[in-house]
């Protein structure tokens, strides 16, 4: 057994076990912590495939940002003692069916040689093209600018950036637009008009402008 396969087996097992524990834990904080463990294991798997950039971003965004917010919300609501519910809900048959269908879909998609490893070697994954204008002297003496494409073996982050900003620019921008829409929606839902009594109860220091601002206004009007 090669060392890589051994590491994959260990990390993969931990990832799967942790993700099962996410849905079976009674305490939401414990679930969130096991989800964190799953994210970290997946990051290790990314690094093993030679995608250091995606692995680092996985930790940075999911473990460092999203999970912290999850924990924040869970702790803010502070559900410590759940009522004794059944472990499985009434819809477990349907849920299992859907899960099985998705699993079969993935297994058929990720066949070795078809969708698995579209790029044969990691050398090719790291090669990118740079485009640069170069002044070219024509035989008749005039100077024109010519676009020159040069292939080079670059780092992981360059490869990801090239893919995102050239071939996949439109999907990337569409995704960012979706995120923006979702964010605005969240703000609209979360923000509410204060009632008259609530508005009266706002402490004065919240409404007060700072002293410097007063001084600036004073000076401007003078």
């Amino acid at each position: 057994m090669s060392p890589e396969l051994l590491v994959f087996a260990v990390i993969g097992t931990i990832a799967v076990a942790a993700s099962i524990l996410v849905i079976s834990m009674r305490n939401p904080v414990h679930s969130a912590l096991f989800l964190l463990l799953t994210f970290l294991c997946v990051a290790v798997l990314f690094v093993m495939k030679g995608a250091e950039f995606v692995g680092a971003v996985q930790v940075l965004v999911y473990a460092g940002g999203i999970m912290v917010l999850f924990l924040f919300v869970v702790m803010l609501i502070n559900v410590r003692h759940l009522p004794d519910e059944k472990v499985l809900s009434n819809f477990w048959k349907g849920g299992f069916a859907v899960g099985l269908a998705v699993f079969i879909l993935f297994v058929t998609l990720v066949r070795p040689g078809v969708y698995h490893d579209p790029v044969p070697s990691d050398k090719a994954l790291r090669s990118t093209y740079t485009y640069r204008h170069r002044k070219v002297k024509n035989p008749d003496g005039t100077v024109t600018r010519k676009l020159i494409r040069r292939g080079k073996v670059a780092g992981n982050s360059e490869a990801v950036a090239m893919a995102l900003y050239t071939d996949y620019l439109v999907p990337f921008e569409v995704a960012s637009l979706f995120l923006l829409v979702a964010m605005i929606g969240a703000i609209v839902i979360g923000k509410r008009e204060l009632s008259a009594s609530e508005e009266e109860n706002i402490p004065a220091y919240m409404l007060e402008r700072s002293e410097t601002e007063h001084e600036i206004k004073e000076a401007m009007s003078a």
Partner: protein, 389 residues
């Protein structure tokens, strides 16, 4: 012993251990330095007694006395705490805080670089961003309302300031074109310290790194006038010391990042003249040690700045903290990215040095800000004098 094992496992491990021990000694010493310096700034003495019996001056033995006290004190566990999370709380932030030390280049490569990762900077950011879990968990598991408040505040603050912290680095990345700290430092030696072209980014980074470490103007998670001691109210003895250790370690990490990104790391050079990496390597092992000493000196300057800030600024209110992060720091960082990107692109097209233009722009911004800050104040003072007369 096989060569790859020596090269990829044993040698980095030895280097990491040496760096780790040096850093931990600095952490222990920082505690004493901080208390003495705060004493100096606040016109009092600070700890100056311990060790007098053994002829150790200035209370230096405090550095040894503190850890001994932490180890010997009674370890109290609240009876209604969430046991596993309560024990994990102080230990989780230690892992990323210590792990990061093998990604930082302390001196000229290859001797003083522990591991060379091509996404090194990103990995450092990723690891430091997971340090907040210990604080949240500790705050929640203590089963204490003040602790929980501290943990929640910490979570909100860390997530908010993670964004300007990361965004302020993007400008540097665009100028240098790499995530590799060694490359960034060499680039600065052959051009100019990133401080000058990335002045706004350096300022944002300084503020954000203070907020990331919960240091005083931004120490709301442990605000003693509001929350007793915040997330570590229920922690005593060595568990509390672990929180301290993680905080001071990540302070040093952030100072190392500041120095590497904006202040030229171990080099002392401009436009390729001076102590560049090449010159230091030409001097052999002495050059390496000199480089490491330059690096440590710069880091120490920023560590002292942390203490200086703590002694100088009053604590922010929580809504002020959020306003500063979301309404000022993030738009400013985004504007900085846009301007840097445009200038770098124009520089590539028309063959000029983007750094020079950005440095001039930075100087202009400082001048304009000073003008804006000083002008109305002067007018107000003048108006008051007129009205009084």
């Amino acid at each position: 012993m096989p060569e790859p094992l020596l090269r990829y496992l044993i040698w980095p491990l030895v280097k990491f251990l040496v760096a780790f021990i040096i850093v931990q000694v600095i952490v222990a010493a920082m505690n004493w330095v901080e208390r003495r310096l705060l004493g100096l700034i606040q016109a009092r003495l600070g700890p100056n007694r311990v060790g007098k019996e053994f002829g150790i001056p200035w209370g230096l033995a405090q550095i040894v006395a503190d850890p001994i006290k932490f180890i010997l004190k009674e370890d109290i566990v609240p009876s209604s705490s969430e046991k596993v999370a309560y024990f994990l709380g102080p230990m989780l932030p230690l892992i990323p805080a210590f792990l990061v030390f093998c990604l930082i280049p302390y001196g000229p490569p290859p001797t003083f670089v522990v591991t060379h990762v091509n996404v090194g900077l990103l990995l450092i950011l990723a690891l430091t961003s997971t340090g907040v879990y210990g604080i949240i968990l500790g705050g929640w598991a203590s089963n204490n309302k003040y602790s929980l408040m501290g943990g929640l505040r910490s979570a909100a603050q860390m997530v908010s300031y993670e964004v300007p912290f990361g965004l302020s680095i993007v400008g540097v990345l665009m100028l240098c074109g790499s995530f590799d700290l060694v490359h960034i430092i060499n680039y600065q030696a052959s051009h100019i310290w990133n401080l000058f072209p990335q002045l706004i980014a350096a300022f944002i980074f300084l503020v954000a790194m203070n907020a990331e470490n919960n240091r005083t103007p931004f120490d709301l998670p442990e605000a003693e006038s509001e929350l007793v001691a915040g997330y570590h109210t229920e922690y005593s003895a060595m568990k509390f010391a672990f929180f301290m250790l993680a905080e001071y370690s990540s302070m040093i990490v952030n100072c190392c990042l500041m120095v590497s990104l904006f202040f030229g790391g171990w080099t002392l050079a401009i436009n390729g003249y001076g102590l560049t990496t090449g010159v230091l390597r030409g001097m052999g092992i002495a050059g390496g040690i000199l480089g490491a000493l330059i690096f440590i000196t710069k880091v120490m300057v920023f560590m002292l700045m942390y203490i200086w800030f703590r002694a100088t600024f009053p604590r922010f209110r929580f809504d002020q903290l959020m306003d500063l992060g979301w309404k000022w720091m993030i738009p400013l960082a985004l504007a900085n990215i846009a301007v840097t990107g445009i200038v770098v692109l124009l520089g590539q097209q028309f063959n000029f040095q983007g750094e020079v233009v950005l440095s001039i722009a930075g100087a202009a911004i400082i001048a304009f800000t000073l003008y804006l800050l000083l002008r109305p104040r002067a007018k107000v003072i003048h108006a008051r004098r007129v009205s009084e007369a």
